[in-house]
């Protein structure tokens, strides 16, 4: 792998190696662009992954200090863990299960279809489904989604048999084993699934798409990728014109380094991305970089999320097989007659005993709780994932009372459920219970939201610069050579699991960036190579100059 020089002003720097960053890196490398990917986490291989929930969690999860506030139950149950995302090369694609629904047409136009709701700060996306569709096609081919590109559906697991029979009995029509990025047959260089049941723990046999196992190796093969693990970016630097010049990061030895960049793309997820922009405040941008709209960090969404588990009088063994290979679409359309706008999917879900104990009813104790766990062998489960409403007061801010190991303020995540979210969750819980009761459940359990893996909306796309942070290509309105490449750009949350859309947008963004750099329609910061921000802190040249030369 090449090592580009710290003063190389021809590289694109990408912060983060997950679905957005890893995909963008590969797409740009394929077009001949030199790319430096800076990833906070370590470089694990699938051989390192562990079929054990707590040990895997400690290996892969993002456990840097965070704080929470607001009335959501997470602030009480898991006050320092608002999100379940990953700190490892590959980001949260290492943890994701593989569900790949597309957004629906109306979900790009929430205010148009949902009307004005009190407390909701929604916008129409500046792009339509039609504009994204060709990129969805390419994303599905890249991810190898079952049910597309000639790839067969996954077979019915035990958990799916309960789920789908229940769906039939309550009259649902649109259910299947999912568009899913792990296949029953080999796809490209990936083997078929062995149904090991540890999707969330990385998938040791590499059958699941991740940037770790697909995008980054493809990028590396071009000779254009310089991937640096354990490189935690603490600040984006800019010149006197307000253009990005590069980033300052702390390397694995704890040293601050400055990497010059022609263009910077941030893909740290919807908590770390706004945190980095806010922590990059300078005299030119006192409210944070790219924040003239004041929307950086606001409109944080985490999806509806809830679960229903059900206990039967016969064995299910829900943990065997692909964890989330089941999908019901019938509750996804926008049908305000249900008492809320937007919709939700019902998806298969299983946890092992350790995480069932931790997440089924956090804080509970006593025989009611333990008797449910004793029903584990006969238990089936589903996840309820729906559109939560963007609210300006749900936001990621800097908590200046708490500093991380690099001396940077940690992010605080504030979240209150909107009444629409509460109504949707109640409906979804009841619908899930009805489904399981239709196939003979002897007990059903309503499980509250988990720490969020779907983190969305904190640097949202907007047509007008005053309404949001980035345009329809993820390009910052204020800083044209700074991009956002993760789900922070989502204008509204939609009901769909976000990875497929993140990947589709990254493919589309890569075309825009490559053309913009070729034609010079995207300007480049002109700072001296050490990138000192005339108005803000910058690394000392002697710290920045210790790098190796180009390989």
């Amino acid at each position: 792998m090449p090592r580009f020089r710290f003063d190389d002003d021809d590289v694109v720097v990408i912060v983060g190696s997950g679905a957005g960053g890893g995909t963008l890196a590969n797409e740009l490398c394929q077009k001949g662009q030199k790319v430096v990917v800076l990833e906070s986490g370590r470089n694990h291989t699938p051989d390192d992954f562990i079929n054990d929930e707590w040990r895997s969690f400690k290996q892969l999860a993002w456990l840097d200090k965070r704080t929470t506030s607001g009335s959501f139950r997470i602030a009480e149950d898991f006050p320092s863990l608002p999100a379940w995302t990953c700190k490892t090369v590959g980001g949260t694609t290492v943890h994701w299960a593989g569900c790949c629904p597309r957004l629906m047409e109306h979900e790009f136009k929430a205010p148009t279809y949902y009307g004005d709701l009190d407390g909701v700060n929604a916008l129409d996306w500046p792009i339509s489904l039609g504009e994204v569709e060709p990129y969805y096609d390419r994303a599905e081919a890249k991810l190898g989604c079952t049910g597309t590109n000639g790839i067969p559906q996954l077979p019915a697991s035990n958990n799916y048999k309960v789920f789908a029979n229940g769906a039939q009995r309550v009259g649902y029509k649109r259910f299947h084993t999912g568009r899913y990025a792990s296949s029953p047959v080999p796809y490209k260089d990936r083997p078929a699934t062995i149904q090991d049941g540890f999707n969330f723990q990385g998938v040791k046999n590499r059958s699941k798409w991740s940037t770790l196992t697909v995008e980054l190796p493809e990028a590396e093969a071009t000779g254009k990728l310089d991937l640096r693990a354990e490189a935690h970016v603490i600040r984006i630097e800019h010149d006197e014109q307000g253009l990005a010049t590069g980033v300052t990061y702390v390397d694995g030895d704890g040293l601050e380094q400055f990497q010059r960049a022609r263009l910077v793309a941030v893909a740290g997820n919807a908590i770390e991305t706004p945190r980095l922009l806010l922590n990059s405040a300078s005299s030119t941008f006192p409210d944070g970089l790219a924040n003239s709209s004041g929307q950086v960090g606001k409109n944080y969404m985490r999806h509806l999320t809830a679960s229903v588990y059900a206990i039967f009088d016969k064995p299910v063994h829900m943990y065997r097989g692909e964890t989330m290979a089941g999908h019901i679409e019938d509750e996804a359309p926008n049908d305000p007659s249900r008492g809320f706008v937007g919709g939700y999917y019902m998806q298969l879900l299983a946890l092992g005993v350790p995480f069932m104990a931790a997440f089924m009813d956090p804080g509970a104790w006593g025989r009611d709780f333990t008797s449910a766990l004793e029903g584990y062998e006969n238990m089936a489960g589903m996840w309820l994932v729906g559109e939560d409403m963007p609210q300006e007061t749900n936001r990621v801010t800097l908590n200046r009372d708490e500093l991380d190991e690099h001396g940077q303020p940690v992010p605080n995540v504030h979240y209150d459920d909107h009444p629409n979210d509460v109504a949707m969750r109640e409906h979804a819980w009841a619908a899930g219970e009805a489904l399981y009761e239709a196939v003979g459940a002897v007990r059903t359990i309503r499980t509250p939201p988990y720490p969020a893996t779907h983190n969305l909306g904190t640097t949202r796309m907007s047509e007008r610069p005053e309404d949001g942070v980035v345009n329809g290509f993820g390009q910052c309105h204020d800083v044209p050579n700074l991009f956002v490449s993760d789900a922070s750009q989502f204008t509204t949350g939609a009901a769909a699991n976000p990875t497929l859309t993140i990947v589709a947008l990254a493919i589309r963004q890569a075309e825009f960036i490559a053309e913009g750099l070729r034609s010079s329609s995207i300007p480049t910061g002109r700072a001296s190579w050490d990138g000192r921000d005339p108005g803000g802190a910058a690394p000392a040249p002697e710290q920045a100059a210790v790098g190796t030369g180009a390989a």
């Binding site: 707590w54 062995i194 540890f198 016969k314 065997r320 359309p333 005993v353 350790p354 062998e377």
Partner: protein, 146 residues
Amino acid sequence: MSHQLSDDSRETALAAARTMFPHDGLPDEAYAKVVGELEAGAAGDPSVAAGIEQGIAQLDDPQRFVELDDDARLEALRRCEGSPFFDLLKATAVVELYDNPLVWKAFGYEGSSVHLGGYIKRGFDDLDWLPDPPIALDPTAGSHHR
């Protein structure tokens, strides 16, 4: 190194963990793991150790916890609900008790599977008390987004 509780204190802590998360079929060994973790957590932190000793003393006052019947144990535990010791015991137990292959086996969870080739030939689809449902979208159902 871990902080050593007295035998009596260890006995009280184990009984309290069992009262909190009662599983009649599980041996004391499963709950002893919780107590071991409490002792490990107290090592090197005298304030944690003191908090544990104090919490146990409260459970043993006025009568030793282990001498109480089940209802009285529950009552004694409820009296200290919300105390730092109660919260520590609960947080420790809910992880340690269920992070144990002995407990998994009792509940019918098989743990690591990849070294056995996953479940593709070991029962991922062996449920036979329901009919096999369709796995693909019914083309007549009119999916709204594909």
